[in-house]
């Protein structure tokens, strides 16, 4: 007899009442089926919700779970799966991971109270998707393979080593300089198409996938009609300089843009 509470995924607009179908058979967090809680004059504003075991989402349990990478991944993938299914059909406003209410009635009250703000942001985001742009420096780190001096017979081993290190360092400096140049070009290219940008922290650590060091990790909000050109132009901007790689991810539901710009001081809107 597990008590359940309501996990809320996203706010969306369900103008033609077909959104239920997008969710049928789709497993949410904890494999529960997902349903819609409605508000608005005609019930057109919805929150996607599913029951989750209360004991897993109480504050202390949740805090511990969020430190568990496997648990976090399964919740994150489920959260994303639901948002993806919604985003296929309508504009969505993703909620932060692990937004939980005592029951559906509390979700309805929340939705009722914020209808206007949600509706406004949803119309801002209509027909826009998020794209990720990551820039990597691929030059070898100075600490990689410290020895392996080229055979230069006129140099002593010590001087050969130093000369090798210097060459490495210069290659790396060049790569960073090229990365800055590429970052500028990419930004210019992106700005032609995007209406907003959010800068995420560069990715590091075990989960960061190389090769290379991630130095730019941006998200752009792009009108759907510009998506192809955005992608093509950004990738083209990266051509011609070796040692720097640009990766474009997406389309994403507008996770990074769910909150309007003025409440996020760290981000800069593209003009």
């Amino acid at each position: 007899m597990t008590e359940t509470i309501s996990y809320a995924y996203a706010v969306a607009r369900d103008d033609d009442g077909t959104l239920d179908r997008a969710l049928s058979g789709l497993p949410g967090v904890a494999d529960a089926s997902v349903h819609l809680v409605r508000a608005g004059h005609r019930g057109e504003l919805v929150v996607a919700v599913s029951p989750v075991p209360e004991q897993d989402f109480q504050e202390s349990a949740l805090r511990a779970h969020l430190e568990d990478l496997d648990w976090l991944e399964s919740v994150a993938r489920a959260h994303h799966r639901v948002i993806g299914a919604l985003a296929e059909r309508t504009t969505v406003l993703p909620l932060r991971l692990a937004t939980v209410y005592l029951d559906d009635e509390r979700v309805r009250q929340m939705l009722d109270a914020r209808q206007e703000a949600f509706a406004g942001r949803l119309s801002d985001l209509t027909a826009h998707t998020e794209w990720g742009v990551k820039i990597y420096v691929e030059a070898p780190a100075a600490t990689d393979r410290p020895a392996a001096p080229p055979a230069a017979p006129e140099l002593s081993p010590g001087r050969a080593y130093l000369s090798h290190r210097r060459a490495q360092r210069h290659a790396r400096e060049d790569a960073y300089r090229d990365a800055e140049e590429i970052a500028r070009r990419v930004e210019d290219a992106a700005r032609h198409h995007a209406v907003d940008r959010v800068q995420h922290r560069p990715q590091q650590g075990e989960l960061a996938r190389g090769p290379g060091e991630n130095v730019i990790n941006d998200a752009y909000l792009v009108p759907v009609g510009h998506a192809e050109r955005f992608r093509a132009d950004v990738l083209r901007a990266a051509e011609g300089l070796s040692g720097v790689r640009v990766e474009v991810t997406g389309p994403w539901a507008p996770y990074s843009f769910a909150t309007p710009p003025e409440t996020e001081p760290t981000r800069r809107a593209a003009p």
Partner: protein, 83 residues
């Protein structure tokens, strides 16, 4: 399923498929994006940030100050403008 080459398989009708998405790209968005609401069972926003930081510590070995990648390594050594 192919992973990480950005080209979804031809049979995949889902424009936002989750299989090939890197967890770290997802976590960037799920832990720092999305609408933040005060739910009934809450970690406050600050707590979520703490979770983020300790999680980062778990998966990253976080340095005291995460330096901007440019500032340390791209030193202002400029020798000309060809490039």
């Amino acid at each position: 399923m192919k992973a990480a080459d950005g080209q979804p398989p031809a049979v995949d009708r889902d424009p936002l498929p989750d299989r090939q998405i890197a967890l770290i790209d997802l976590l960037d968005r799920l832990l720092s994006g999305g609408v933040v609401l005060t739910g009934d069972v809450v970690l406050s926003i600050a707590d979520i940030d703490l979770v983020r930081i300790s999680l980062r510590a778990l998966i990253v070995s976080i340095s005291e100050q995460m330096p901007a990648p440019w500032s340390t390594t791209a030193s202002p050594v400029r020798d000309g403008h060809d490039g």
